[in-house]
Amino acid sequence: MTRPVVVATAATKRYGEVLGLNGFSAEFGPGITGLIGPNGAGKSTFFRVLAGQLHLDAGTMTLLDRPADDPVRSNHEVGYCPESPTLYEWMTPEEFLRTLLRLDGFEASEARRRCQNALGEVDLLPVKDRRLSGFSRGMRQRVKIAQALAHEPSVLLLDEPLNALDPIGRVRLLELFGRIAEAGRHLIVSSHVLYEVERLTDQIVMMTNGRAIAQGDLHQIRDLIDSRPHTVELTTPQPRELGRTLAGWEHVTDVAFPRPDTVVAQTRTPDEFYRSLGELARSGTIAVQGVRGVDDNLEAVFRLLAG
């Protein structure tokens, strides 16, 4: 039997006049799913509803088949890393994690063991006895991730988890997320920096203005948008000739010359464009040294879908 981990159906959350979620409907499968959207898209609102911290005004949201508004039952299964730098400043990381693990219902000895493991995962064991109030943003981010991991939940909700981390820290955490997913747990990872998510997973949900605008495999999403304007960057020693030829094609809507050896064309029918380009290359009249579909980049996909 197959079933999604999280299901949102017409989920709506209002903040006064502002819509945090606007009929958000999406399914999040197992493994790692990226939640992509610009700042203010509603990603944090979505996570907070799942963590039982916000109440929906309309629609439903379920997590592992349970209503999200039943935090006592659901929160055993959820590890939530909020975006805001929420910590108990007067504690050390060890005290902080142990307190939260005790709130999760673990006995003192078990809490201590899990605390050590989680702090080790995020490389914070050397500073486990320092006060959190003196921690840098990156260290605080790692503490937040540790508290989300420590009770080994089935589902991890990570709201912009890579914010403020140095490059090495990012790589280590990306590897850690991969290991967690391989262990059979599920992660929903939000970001507005698209290449981060691209390195983690092909499964994505894209949202903007509180609505899901696409979901599924990144390549499937590309198929969905193939009928929309598509940008191709061509490298050539004959930019003027190539530009003139491309401009004559019916399916090319725009031609630009960003660099002396580069022509950027926009087309509404990429299949036809690539067929014509192949014929042009075979004819040998114009040399085309490089072809790069700009839309292969996740960011471009989002820009297209978000309009």
Binding site: G29, A51, G52, H55, P71, T86, Q215
Partner: protein, 277 residues
Amino acid sequence: MTISAPRYELVGTSRESRSRRVWVITTEGLRRRLTGLNLVLIVLGALIVGVEVVLFTTPGIAGFLNGGGSPQLSNFATPYNSVNYLILATLLTASIGAGAIAGDVATRSIALYLSRPITTLDYLVGKGAAVGLVLVLFFLVPGVAACLFAYFVGNVSGGLALTAMGAFVLVGLVMVVLFTTLALFLSSLTRRPIFAGAAIFGVLVSAEVLAALVRSVTQSVQALYVSPLEDLLAVAQSVFGVTPAIDPLGALGVVFGISAVTALVTYLRVLEVEVVG
């Protein structure tokens, strides 16, 4: 388009009971109040209250400290002869209880509580217990200490000292219930602990001033019911065998009524708390 999903498995782990988790909230709240500047404040507060109670109580029993006179329970009631002691208690409650909920909301650490498998009631009981246990230091311990002092130093029988101790404990518990529920309620109304603290002190003292004004205008003692401090005073005096200005049972009803209503409203209020921003 949907994502094909293999089966997921729930992680089975034995967990401690809810009451143990509530105790974790309480101990965390106590730790927070018993470190650094908070600890200094509490120690100072306890010392001031302790000294005040003992000083108030000692003159009452002074007559038989050297073996003279016949001590009675009412001799121990001196802290409750006026509202001065209760106003000091209000000040201490304002400084201790103001941040109970407002502090969590202000620092957004409430987000971490709410992301754990606990209910709103668990959270409130835990927070209330943390505030209440500190208030016990102020409202129960000094009275008990005064009784022990009287027993060991003065000509007070063990039975009377024990009875007086019980009276201090009884009155202290009523005070803890009222001040704790009121502190949690006012702390739940704002994100700023300092506002909550001002509200705790302001509400109780304003009610006291209002009651005194109305009483002086109308010449009716019934006006005193308006002030929770006067109600507490009436209950305390009655317990110590002193005739209060107003009916102590009615006053107790007002105290418990205020406690029950504020507790209910706090619960409903926190139920609606959302972590935004």
